[in-house]
């Protein structure tokens, strides 16, 4: 099979993995080396595919042959699909040549399981070792850990990769048992905890000794499929909060279930991918990581699912109207972050600017505040933009507006002159 056919098959087989981030590494180029993963702390997108997703890493499976039979997966053993496998050489050559042309930030390597988890992991290790050692490659490498691979291999992979991920796949143990019968919960959580500890240990060592080796300097992430099993957002976000706290995950990715294997009685049928829900989960995830929200503030047993109509912060604000209105000139940074329509940057700018003079409501768009959403929740020197505590009215207004403008349009309309 020629390389073009392999690439088509193994890129298409890898495309369902949501993660493509190339962020957070501090791997610098070496003398006469190729690549630099440290220079873009936020990652770099090189292109956008026709599905609107950013292309940053060359995302490939080593092979889509697999001994397992996970129900939701296109590559499951029992599917009759074209199969292919790269050689180590081919993958190294593709990565280097794409990188040299600035097509990509690096490689995201994953694989179906062939023979055994260790056998597969060993192949992935060979690829990244060749890249790092023979080619002095210092671009970004993300490797997916194969559940069930031995600790020694995981550790060695971590010494060459920038980011590791072990995919949770499904947000509960029951889900996993039903849909991924070959994967045990321990095969996922144990390596995750192990990687978390290793990352911490290597970081501590580096604090003492600057030249200490790197171990997955961009941390670890995971992914779960949303909508293939019945868990609520409350269950999901609670679990995610624990992952961030306990295993110190850098990112959790959510992937709307796409019915790749129709007619399976274990899976929901006739659904379109729950993209709106996926999007709301990402927004809720941001509230957890950057806005100091707790999971049980965003969803709870009375409201186990995220509001698909409104963003989670606005939805929280409407349920907690007693915190509002907030005075833009008075409340501290943490409280500013709780106001719908106020982002991290706008909150910082507000705090910086009000040291010079009291702000007026008309100043706010300059700081990037989305007044369309913020207007019901703020005051400024006792002045309201719109005085109401009728949450049903506010909801209706916001929904009516969101059908006429798309979200974020206000920011784009802000022009200079």
């Amino acid at each position: 099979m020629d390389i073009l056919d392999k690439l088509t098959i193994l890129a298409a087989a890898a495309k369902y993995d949501a993660s493509c981030a190339s962020s957070g590494s501090n791997r610098q180029n070496t003398p006469n080396g190729l690549g630099n993963a440290s220079e873009a702390p936020l990652g770099i997108c090189h292109s956008w595919a026709a599905d609107g997703r950013c292309i940053s890493l060359l995302k490939l499976l080593f092979t889509n042959y697999c001994i397992h039979d996970c129900v939701y997966c296109i590559n499951r053993r029992s599917n009759d699909i074209p199969r292919a496998a790269f050689t180590v050489n081919e993958l190294v050559d593709l990565t280097i040549n794409f990188y040299r042309r600035n097509y990509i930030e690096g490689l995201f390597l994953s694989s179906g399981v062939i023979k055994s988890p260790d056998y597969t992991m060993e192949l992935l290790l060979q690829v990244i070792k060749r890249l790092r050692i023979e080619h002095n490659f210092n671009g970004y490498i993300h490797v997916k850990v194969i559940p069930g691979a031995s600790r020694e291999l995981v550790k060695e992979v971590g010494c060459y990769a920038d980011r590791l991920s072990v995919n949770i796949e499904l947000p509960s143990e029951q889900g996993l048992k039903k849909l991924a019968p070959d994967k045990r919960k321990e095969d996922i959580l144990v390596p995750m905890a192990y990687i978390g500890n290793q990352i911490q240990a290597f970081q501590d060592e580096r604090k003492v000794l600057r030249s200490a080796p790197l171990f997955a300097p961009a941390g670890q992430s995971t992914q779960m499929i949303v909508g293939a099993s019945p868990e609520s957002d409350f269950q999901i976000l609670n679990m995610v909060e624990k992952l961030y706290q306990k295993v110190r995950l850098r990112r959790v990715y959510y992937s709307a279930y796409i019915p790749v294997n129709p007619n399976n009685p274990l899976l929901p049928t006739g659904i379109t991918p729950p993209l709106k829900r996926e999007n709301r989960l990402y927004q809720a995830d941001w509230l957890l990581r950057f806005y100091k929200f707790r999971a049980d503030e965003i969803v709870n047993s009375d409201h186990p699912f995220l509001d698909t109509e409104l963003d989670p912060k606005t939805s929280w604000a409407l349920r907690n109207f007693h915190h509002f209105p907030m005075d833009i000139n008075r409340v501290d940074y943490e409280h500013l972050l709780r106001i719908p329509g106020v982002g991290l940057q706008s909150a910082q700018r507000i705090v910086a600017a009000r040291r010079f003079s009291a702000l007026k409501l008309t100043d706010l768009p300059k700081f990037g505040v989305v007044l369309k959403r913020a207007r019901y929740f703020i005051t400024c020197n006792g002045q309201y933009l719109e005085k109401t505590d009728n949450d049903i009215y506010i909801r209706q207004k916001l929904l009516a507006e969101s059908t006429t403008h798309h979200e974020g349009s206000q920011l784009q309309q802000l022009t200079l002159f």
């Binding site: 495309k15 006469n32 090189h46 026709a50 609107g52 600035n102 796409i258 991918p273 300059k366 200079l416």
Partner: protein
């Protein structure tokens, strides 16, 4: 009222602004000879660029804060009409209220220049991703670009750090400027340098269509085009978002076929 006319260079602008600051009347415009339009109420004054003075002024501003010099440099390269007056207003504001004022986004001169700087930085960031090198038969990796702003020199640090082991050139084909990396240094090439022996080869073929390519180069281009198609999920088709991030004007020099 007075219109200041400078030669279009950054040093020229700094020389002019330095003089504006000591002028007692109203500065009505700062412009270049090409754009200069005499008006009845202002006298036009041509400023001779004094490199020494401009550099001294730059260092003075830098001494106040590197933020200031960064903001005015990036904003200047936006080439937006009226940017000279904005820079003048910005510097005037800094001298009037002290350096702390630069964090006050509520001040019109500060925030206008800040947003301009942000737009330029944003495009620089975009090009970290959008540069597409093609390997010429002589081994040099060459990328034509057509940015909105005059940013090519700001791409040098990023690409020099990353592609330290290959010779490459990024060429702004509209402005006729470029940067060339020879394995040790990155040099800025303005149009007048087109006889530079190292780059003759590429500049003689400024049209990418005329670029000579070898079989290996075409093979990787083909693979990349193919990857670009294969990685999209049909069930999530969303070309609206794709276009928001990757506006049409950038497509020309990408290797992948955005429109399929």
């Amino acid at each position: 009222m007075r219109i200041y006319i400078y030669d279009g260079s950054f040093e020229g602008l700094l020389t002019a602004i330095k003089q504006c600051l000591t002028y007692n009347g109203e500065v009505s415009e700062i412009t270049t000879p090409e754009r200069y339009q005499p008006d009845l109420f202002s006298d036009g004054m041509e400023i001779k660029t004094i490199s020494e003075e401009a550099r001294k002024f730059y260092r003075q501003l830098e001494g106040l804060s590197k933020e200031i010099t960064a903001t005015i440099s990036y904003a200047f390269l936006s080439e937006q009409s009226g940017v000279e007056m904005l820079i003048y207003e910005y510097i005037k504001t800094v001298f009037r209220y002290g350096v702390e004022v630069i964090t006050n986004m509520n001040h019109p001169a500060i925030y206008k220049l800040y947003y301009l700087r942000r737009k330029v930085l944003f495009e620089i960031g975009r090009y970290h991703g959008f540069v597409r090198f093609q390997q010429l038969p002589n081994g040099i990796f060459y990328s034509p670009i057509e940015p909105d702003y005059n940013i090519v020199q700001f791409l040098a640090p990023h690409f020099s750090a990353r592609f330290a082991d290959q010779r490459w050139m990024i060429h702004d084909i509209r402005r006729g400027t470029g940067i060339f990396y020879d394995l040790t240094h990155c040099v800025y090439l303005s149009w007048v340098d087109r006889n530079h022996p190292l780059i003759r080869l590429v500049l003689e073929h400024p049209e990418e269509n005329a670029l000579p390519a070898n079989i290996m180069e075409l093979k990787y281009q083909r693979l990349w085009k193919d990857y670009f198609k294969a990685i999209a999920i049909q069930e999530r088709h969303n070309t609206k978002v794709q276009r928001q991030h990757m506006p049409r004007r950038y497509w020309k020099h990408l290797i992948e076929d955005v429109e399929v």
